[in-house]
């Protein structure tokens, strides 16, 4: 009896400490309460049993009141603290308490390629009346541990995410559903092979078409790290979980422009509120499907009721996903039956046949295609929509008729070559000549076409002059110490040198318009979906003004422009993320434009090019509405590539975080211009997460190539030529100009 009391007292002490940790030391004199409990607990055997009994009862009542009070005043930042608390349930607790049996695969505690990622073969038992049915599932998730350091708080290393992918594929081979459990503050932001961003992108790309039902449960959903195992058919979320684009601390550091140290507490709490990271917010946004209720101030590792509930919800979610691939009627019946208890009224077979798998994948595409579409802001007149539709159809017809074979295209080519040569200048030569050469090579002509001699008129001068070039001054190449580069005269540098130091090859940043004017055939660019506008869906304080400033500065409505253009006569669809607009960050407007563009490329059988002028990641001011653009766009990428298209990404300047970890990093062909920096997280985040400084060239294109993240490094001066060669030699069979 006394032992029981002792245990209970211990639990009460833990609960009290927990309340203090979450609500703070000033919460209803919690500190003095803790002291009192400790006092009794420490001197337990000096007290009379009756006193103890009374004390325990009273304290329990007191704590229940405090829990309820705490629940009532729960703030978003306190929720963040709940998910991070060592007393919160972890994946290990779920495996023990929710599944009827499990076997961990590819790791055991510290003996593990990545202890932050746990994979297990698990079994669920379903009772229907007197009958018992067994379901096999693959469980893949983050393990935060209850304070064990080697778990890194559930931050998956790149190879941890690779391990996750391996077991996804195993489940796919065996045809069993996957349950994903997301308990991560974010991915461990290192670039070692396979690389944080690239591996997340690979996972997303694969999950887009996983041939088995997938359910995700989110307790701590830290941005890209969460998405690595988050693209699921059904997304459940713990009531006291958070799902966010960035940790509130990270957001505060960015808002306060802090390079080192901690941002102020008030700002962190404000950011937690602004980010709209709670389960309720996410359900409202449609970024999750269902909330799993928790006890006041959140479920902890001993909350058996919660685990029971979770088990039912997991089975139901899996059932629903599967039933959606079968007859609607059955699903309705199932839904009406209200599976609220452990005794199920139905048995649902979790095996899918080929047709059902196809429907499953289609449903998944539709689900993500629709996700956050409500937030897309589009000022479009009816006439314009009608025109766009008509245009799309006519383009499609034209391509089908004209370009089915290159034979027809040859004429266009020749014309292009002639035009190019007749109006070209010597300055353009390095650009145009290789194109002709490649053309001759591919067409296999013995002698080159007769060319018109260039004239020496004024149209020799390229029509586009970078505004940067219009100043009589010189600047120093940043690599001059190392390579003794002479100072560069600005008109030369930003004119003829294409912003490249001729001595060492360093690439100076150029404005995005330079690319539009120098890479594509003259007058071949036609933008579309310009009306889709970045807005402030979270009503993030102060953000609307920043957006307005960006719009005014650039004349653009979002950071992504989508357009059709030609290179060497080959028509293609392209998007460009633009540094001048909020550092090329991606939100719902950019995501939607990206998807529409790549869908148009698929429809019209054209190559698809993503030029990344710069991207700073997912726009934090759009919260998870931004984050889900990662799975959304990657889904579209997968669909396009599988259809036999050609998707090329070219990185320039700085490319980091979400987009690289999804729809850019999943491209089969990724190239970086020299002097590009690309990766997952910048040096500050790496230092904060890993405690390590990284060398200055950590994110360089050369290192990205060395690590196998990109396919090659290109020189900006040769970009047009390289792209042309790529268009002719790479990609699938479904391009309009292929035989």
């Amino acid at each position: 009896m006394k032992i029981e009391l002792y245990k209970t007292l211990k639990n009460l002490l833990e609960t009290a400490t927990y309340i203090r940790d979450i609500k703070g030391e000033d919460f209803f004199e919690i500190t003095s309460l803790i002291n009192k409990i400790s006092e009794v607990y420490d001197n337990f055997y000096q007290y009379e049993p009756s006193y103890l009994e009374n004390f325990v009862k009273k304290t329990k009542e007191q704590l229940d009141i405090l829990l309820d009070q705490g629940e009532k005043t729960l703030t978003p930042y306190e929720i963040v603290k709940i998910t991070r608390h060592p007393q919160r349930f972890t994946l290990q607790d779920i495996l023990e308490n929710v599944y009827d049996s499990y076997m961990e695969l590819g790791g055991e505690g510290e003996i593990n390629i990545d202890p932050a990622v746990v994979c297990a073969k698990a079994m669920l038992v379903r009772k229907v009346g007197d009958e018992i049915f067994f379901h096999q599932v693959m469980v893949i998730g983050h393990e935060k541990g209850h304070g064990e350091e080697f778990r890194e708080g559930g931050s998956a290393k790149p190879w941890g995410n690779e391990k996750a992918l391996r077991y996804m594929k195993m489940a796919e081979t065996e045809g069993i559903p996957i349950h994903f459990f997301i308990f991560t503050p974010g991915a461990y932001p290192i670039e070692d092979y396979p690389g944080a961003a690239q591996q997340i992108a690979k996972n997303l790309y694969h999950m887009a078409k996983l041939r088995v039902p997938t359910i995700a449960f989110i307790s701590e959903g830290g941005s890209g790290g969460a998405e690595a195992i988050g693209l699921a058919d059904m997304r459940l979320m713990a009531e006291k979980g958070y799902y966010s684009v960035i940790s509130p601390e990270g957001a505060a550091a960015i808002e306060a422009k802090i390079k080192d140290g901690r941002p102020p507490r008030e700002l962190v709490e404000k950011c937690a509120r602004s980010l709209k990271l709670t389960a309720k917010d996410n359900l409202r946004f449609g970024t999750i499907d269902k909330i799993i209720p928790e006890p006041p101030l959140g479920a902890r590792r001993k909350d058996c009721e919660f685990f029971k509930r979770l088990k039912i919800e997991l089975i139901r979610a899996t059932d629903e996903v599967i039933l959606q691939t079968r007859s609607i009627k059955f699903l309705r019946k199932y839904a009406v039956s209200k599976q609220e208890t452990e005794n199920f009224k139905y048995y649902v077979n979790w095996d899918l046949d080929e047709d059902e798998i196809e429907i499953l994948i289609e449903n998944r595409y539709k689900k993500y295609r629709k996700m956050t579409q409500w937030a897309v802001h589009e000022n479009k007149t009816l006439f314009k929509s009608f025109f766009d539709l008509g245009h799309t159809i006519s383009v499609k017809l034209k391509n089908e008729i004209n370009y089915k074979i290159l034979k027809q295209g040859q004429k266009t080519f020749k014309k292009f070559l002639n035009e190019l040569t007749s109006e070209s200048t010597l300055l353009l030569k390095p650009v145009s000549d290789p194109i002709k050469t490649v053309y001759n090579l591919i067409v296999g002509k013995k002698t080159g076409p007769k060319l018109i001699t260039p004239s020496l008129q004024d149209d020799d001068i390229p029509t586009y002059v970078s505004p940067l070039a219009l100043e009589d001054k010189t600047i120093t190449c940043p690599q001059s110490e190392k390579y003794s580069c002479p100072d560069l005269w600005v008109p030369d540098l930003y004119g003829e040198f294409c912003g490249v130091c001729p001595n060492c090859g360093y690439h100076f940043p150029l404005e995005y318009k330079w690319y539009l004017n120098n890479i594509f055939d003259k007058n071949s660019i036609r933008t579309f979906n310009d009306e889709i506008t970045s807005t402030n869906p979270l009503e993030f304080e102060g953000y609307a003004e920043k957006l307005k400033a960006a719009r005014e500065k650039t004349g653009l409505n979002s950071s992504l422009i989508s357009f059709e253009a030609k290179i060497g006569g080959i028509s293609l669809i392209a998007v460009m993320l633009i540094a001048e607009f909020r550092q090329g960050t991606v939100g719902v407007a950019e995501g939607e434009k990206f998807i529409r563009a790549i869908e148009l490329a698929k429809l019209t059988r054209r190559p698809f090019l993503a030029l990344v002028h710069t991207t700073g990641g997912i726009r934090i001011h759009e919260g998870t509405i931004g984050v889900v653009q990662m799975p959304r766009c990657t889904m579209a990428v997968r669909d396009y590539v599988d259809e036999g298209g050609l998707y090329i990404v070219v990185y320039d300047n700085n490319s980091y975080a979400g987009p690289v970890a999804s729809f850019l990093g999943s491209a089969p062909y990724q190239f970086a211009l020299k002097s590009t920096r690309l990766g997952f997280a910048g040096p500050r985040v790496i230092r904060e997460t890993t405690g390590q400084d990284v060398p200055p060239d950590y994110h360089s294109a050369e290192n990205a190539l060395k690590r196998g993240h990109i396919q090659g490094i290109w020189d900006r001066r040769e970009l047009r030529k390289k792209l042309f060669t790529a268009l002719l030699t790479m990609g699938g069979k479904n391009l309009y100009y292929r035989w």
């Binding site: 001054k473 390579y483 003794s484 100072d487 005269w489 060398p695």
Partner: protein, 219 residues
């Protein structure tokens, strides 16, 4: 090539008497001196950080063709003979603007003393030199004191009279690359040491000298 212990003492005494080296900071090109960012006697630092990623102390601003260039210290020490009279004046190239009185570090003392202990490859001409690419890659990978060379190996590429001439190693025996005494692409006077080599079998002896200097000259 052997260095006697007694002789070593003499050299060490010499360095102890004057453990400084004066570095001139010359203008790298013409221009106007626009600003002095240090004062006479100021302490300055060379590049620092694990990867020398943090630049040295800013010394002065030189403007040419509307490019304001901050000239920084490449070595630590104290500023002396600062030519403040040149402020806002046009200066020619190679004009000395200040000097840095640099206290020699243990490593530098070792390096200086080893000049008389190592087999030196000297500049055959006043010219610009770079390590041969193959050798540079090897040193980068394996580090100094480990890379072996033998007769016929390409050591350096000399840019001389507008031509690139390879320089081959011509001694018998196996040597280790012990020290490199030059900066690439800079004009090196004829006869200046370029590379310090140590015969493989003499490495232990050399290390004895080094540890002796370390004793005498703690960090």
């Amino acid at each position: 090539m052997k260095i006697e212990y007694e002789h070593l003492n003499v050299i060490l005494q010499k360095f102890k008497a004057n453990p400084y080296k004066i570095f001139k900071v010359n203008t790298i090109h013409t221009g106007y001196i626009r600003d002095f960012l240090v004062k006479e006697g100021d302490e300055v630092k060379g590049p620092s950080g694990k990867w020398l990623e943090k630049p040295g102390t800013s010394l002065f601003v030189l403007e040419r063709e509307k490019n304001l260039k901050t000239i920084r210290a490449h070595i630590n020490g104290w500023v002396q003979n600062l030519r403040t009279d040149l402020l806002n004046r046009f200066v020619e190239a190679e004009e000395t603007i200040l000097e840095i009185k640099h206290p020699l570090s243990q490593q530098e003392i070792i390096s200086e003393i080893l000049l008389s202990a190592l087999y030196l490859v000297k500049a055959p001409e006043t010219a610009k030199y770079v390590l041969s690419p193959g050798l540079a890659a090897k040193i980068e990978k394996e580090g100094l004191h480990k890379v072996k060379i033998k007769k016929g190996d390409e050591l350096l590429i000399m840019t001389f009279m507008k031509r690139e001439t390879p320089i081959f190693f011509e001694e018998d025996g196996v040597f280790l690359i012990y020290n490199i005494y030059f900066k690439p692409f800079q004009l090196i006077e004829r006869g200046q040491p370029l590379i310090g080599l140590c015969p493989e079998e003499q490495l232990p002896y050399l290390e004895k000298i080094v540890s002796r200097i370390r004793e005498e000259w703690p960090l």
